[in-house]
Structures are given as structure tokens and as C-alpha cells.
Amino acid sequence: MTQLDYPAWLRIEHWVNVLFVTLLIRSGIEILSTHPKLYWRNDSKPGTEWARLTRKTMLTDKLYDTLDEEESYSAILSLPGHKMLGMGRHWHFITVIGWILVGIAYYILLFATGQWHRYIPYSWSIFPQAWNDTLTYLSFKLPAPLPGQPLDAVQKLTYAGVIFILAPFLILTGAAQSPAVEARFPWYVRLWGGRQGARSLHFLGLLAFIAFIAVHLMMIGLWGWPQLTALMIFGEARHLGWALTASLVIIAAIVLVHIAATQWSLRSPRTVQRALGSVLIPARRLILRPLASAQHYSSSQLSAEHRVNGKPPDSDDYKIMAVHNFVDWKLEVGGLVENPMTFTLAELRALGEKQTQRVLHNCVQGWSSIGEWSGVPFREVVNMVKPLPQARHVCFLTMQDTGRDEPSAEGSGQFYEIIDLPLAYYPQCLLAYEMNGHPLPIKHGAPLRLRIENQVGFKMAKWIERIEFVSTCQGIGQGMGGWREDNVYYDREVEI
């Protein structure tokens, strides 16, 4: 049998894992802070949360949106803190890519070298042994390790649980929160009890991981910090003084990486967005982009109430248009097209056959709801205006002036979002003028909003007034691909 020692790869993996897991925890808390409420049901109905991690309460006589509910957590807890969801998402997703790669390498090496014996039990006798070990711990004593192995029975079972159950569980519940995965495989999100079930379980997994880390550190303290860190640094219990120093140096280095990532994100978020985006954008295009929506929820699953992220245009022009039921509203479609067109609402309604879809809506902040949307498939409009060959993206310009309408968000100016042209041809890419069988409500984007079911909500522009085909995002706003990308450093390609 393999000697269960501490080969170099295992030691390196361990410390890299410490870095990745702590980055994931802090950036995850940042993502949590943007909607610090947890639910079990897909509708995220206000008041039904089972946990609130916020001190804010909302008014009842005024429309509030989920940007108002956002919390600003300390940078000590969250990466980078201070309401920077965009940065938190970048760090969470870049780290999870690294974590999955390191994890795969770890699994392969464990099984290739026989080191899996240290974690995976192969006899039922481990359970009575683990019970005895538990009694020993309860006697304020340390049990003996299993013969020829580095861990006692409880430890062995715990590590097996963390490595082979908890870590995959966190990745799987994370994936269940991707709108692209949910859109393509609705059964998968149902498996976790729905979108909010997955989010709540992901949170409970975080708590389990934090508990594991706390006990792990306590155990190392009890069993002997210098000896155990020597094993995890030098591979054997020697140079204990040096091991103690080295362990502190390694931990300090990890802390420094955290401080650097935090400071970089707070001081120069644009460069973080560009640097991490250069990896994340292609990765998502490759892995998640092909997942087209195939959702058909039943009408009994529709949510009675939908939260909103973003407030309606607070202008007289808009209000007068609304009170006249948007008869004067016009949609201009132009830019790099052969045939620029203008549509009234009545013309859009008369265009082809009305398409209806009942789908799960994912807000970037983490809440969800199920709605029925009806309108004209965007591809029909695209086919009528005929994009020129150089058109690569579609820009949706809205009537929302964020500085005026959205005091809870940083930044100002006309709200716009850009999608890649290929998304326009996806079957459930819809210009929606109805919701749940009624004219699209004002708070949900009347008279017209976009639906792209494999992306998070902020990409689905509301209160649309103009659609422009463009060859590049440059020259539009800050050139990052949308108002949120420009102003609050959200990531593009939000299939997760």
C-alpha cells in the first residue's frame, strides 16, 4: 500500500486551496450582500425569506427596487466590500475556474498515486471507530490515528466528506444558479428545489465550509501547529521552528493576496474588470453560451409578485406616454442595418405570431421569479431590418436616466445594454410587450422590454426606445458593453 505521506503536489495543492477557498468565501459574501435575503421558493416573494443578513427595511408606499436593498459589507468580510457586486462576481468566477482546475488535478493525483487511501474508507469498521474517536474527543483527549495513516477515523470521514461531497456540492449548487444552465436544463435547478433552493443550499454549504475551517484550525492547534504545518510544508515533521515561521509566512502571503485584490478592486475596478474579463468572457462564451433556453413552466408556477431592479423613467414625457397607453411610443431600429425601421406598439403587436414563454427570471443580485412574457421574437425584427455583415452586437437604448431614476446605483446617464448579435436568434429572445397576459407593467419595462432567457436580468433592457446594430461596443458609453458594465463594473456575458 502507498505510504500516506505528504508528497509535494499534495502540499502545494493544500496551500493553493487555502488561497482559493478564502477568495471564494469573501467574494461569495460580496455577492450575498447585494441581496442579503435567502428564500426557498423561486418567487423570492418579499417577506418570505428565511434569513435576512441586513438591517435595512423598505418603505411600503413607494416602489423600492432591489438596488435599494443592497447592503454595503465591510471589506474585511467581503471581496472587495462596499457594494461592489461587479468586482465580487469577477473574483468569484475567476477563482472558481482555478478551484475547479486545482480540484480536478487533486482528484487525479489522489487516485493516480494511491493517496486516496488517506480519505476514502474501505471498511465499515471505520464507523464504530469514528464513534470511539468522538467519545475520545468528548473526553478532552486526542484519539490515535488509524494504523499507518495520517488521520483518525473521524478526521478521515470528515475530509472525505469535505473533499468528495461538500466541495462538489458547492460547485453544483453554484452551477444551478446560472441562468444559462437553468434555461437549458430546467430539471437540474428543480433538483435543488429551484433557484432559491440552490442559492440557500449554496449558502449553507458556505457555513459548513467555514465550520470545517474553524474546526480544522482548532485541531491543528490541538495536535500541534508546528508538527502539522511542518508536514504540510516540508513533507515531514522536522525543522519545527522553521515550519512555524514558514506557516506564518505562507498565511501572511495569502492575506497579502487578499489585501492586494481588495485594494486593486476598490482603486482600479476598470483594470480588474478588463484583466479578469479577458479570461471570464471567453470561458463563458465557450461553456455557457451554447445553452439556449428550453423553459416551459406551467401557468400554476407563475410568481404572484416580481421584484424589480431599476425604477421607471421619472419624466413627464414618459408619464404622458404611459397615460395614453403608449400610443405615441415608437421603437426605432437602426444602425448597421440595410433597412432601418420604426414600429409603433400596435405595429409590433401585429407583427407575426405572438410568442409566449413562461420562464425563470434570474436577477444578477440573486433573486428570481417565474413570469410569462409575450411579444415578438426578436429574430423577426432582425430579419426585417437585415443587419449588415459588419454588425456584431445589438445595443438597446432605454428611456431610463439612471442618475435621475436610480439614486441607489453609482453612475448616471441613459441606460443601455448591448448583447452579442448571435443571441438575437435564440428561440426565446423576445421583445416582450405583455407579462402574465396583461400589457407589460410600467415597473417591468412598459411598453417594451427584452427577454433573453439564458442571461441575468440586467441584460434585458426595459423601457426600450431604440435598438441599434453596432460593430463594436467601443464608443458607446465607456465601451464595456452596457451601462452596468460601464458604471458598476459588472461582467459581460452574464450566463452566470
Partner: protein, 161 residues
Amino acid sequence: MSTLLRWTGLDKLISFYRYFAFNGPRVTTASGVVLLLGVAAIRLYWLAGGFPLPAYPAYLAGYFALLAAAAVLASVGMVAGRRPGLVWVGWMVGSLVSAASLAMYLASRTGGLPGLPQLVGWWDYPLGTFAMALAALFVGVHVTVLTGMNVAYPHRRQWHD
């Protein structure tokens, strides 16, 4: 005092709990009841012959019986949903019972109890550690109820947002 807290930043640390609020009145009450009945069950087990010493003073038997009875009564109070005042008393008695059980156990292992010098320093006793853990957890759960982090049955959250 409060100035000192503010100056040291401890006030933020102490008020940190206000960022946590959970809506699980039945889970909260069920956990409290299970913990408290655990505290009672261990005393009854000791009373029924499970005590690790062959003989022990009669006052200890009386204490076990009293503690178990109080814990059971407190549990009943905690689930008396129609009378919120009784529920409050139930939790309070539960915490008193738990704190008393902790104090007695610690006293028996440190200063010693009359007629039980053998117990001093005898930490090597899993069931005793377990009993301490149950009692401490009960007090912990009750603190979360008192601070408003949790609500206990029959109270409910009136959240609108």
C-alpha cells in the same frame, strides 16, 4: 462605557448580531426542546442507575430529579403556543435549568461537591461533556431568541420586504 465601546470599535462588533435575522420559529423551538429534553434525559439516565459512581449522596439524586422535571416542564411551556407569556417563561426556565446544570457540572469537576471528591478533575467522561454541550447550546439558542436573531414559536416574523 458606551463611549469606550465606540472608541475601541467594540460597539460595532457587539451590534454585529443585528445583521442576522432568521424566520424559523418552529425550527428554533424544536431545537430548543430537543436540547432541553436531552439535558433532562441525561439526568434521568443518571438517576436510573447510569451514574458512573456506584453510590452518591441523596441530594444529588434530588437535584437530578428536580432538574429533569424543571427541564420537562420548561419544554412543555415552550410549546404552549396559545399562551405567549407561558412560552417566555418556558424559555427562561430552560435557560436557568441549563445554566444550573452547567454550573453544577463545572463545580463538581473543579471545586468539588460535598461528598463527591472523586469527581474533581474527572473530565474524561464523554456523556458529561455532551451534557455540557447541550446545555450551552440551549442557552445559545435562547440568546438568539432574546436578541431577535431568531423568533420562537408561536411568534412569527412580520416582514414585508
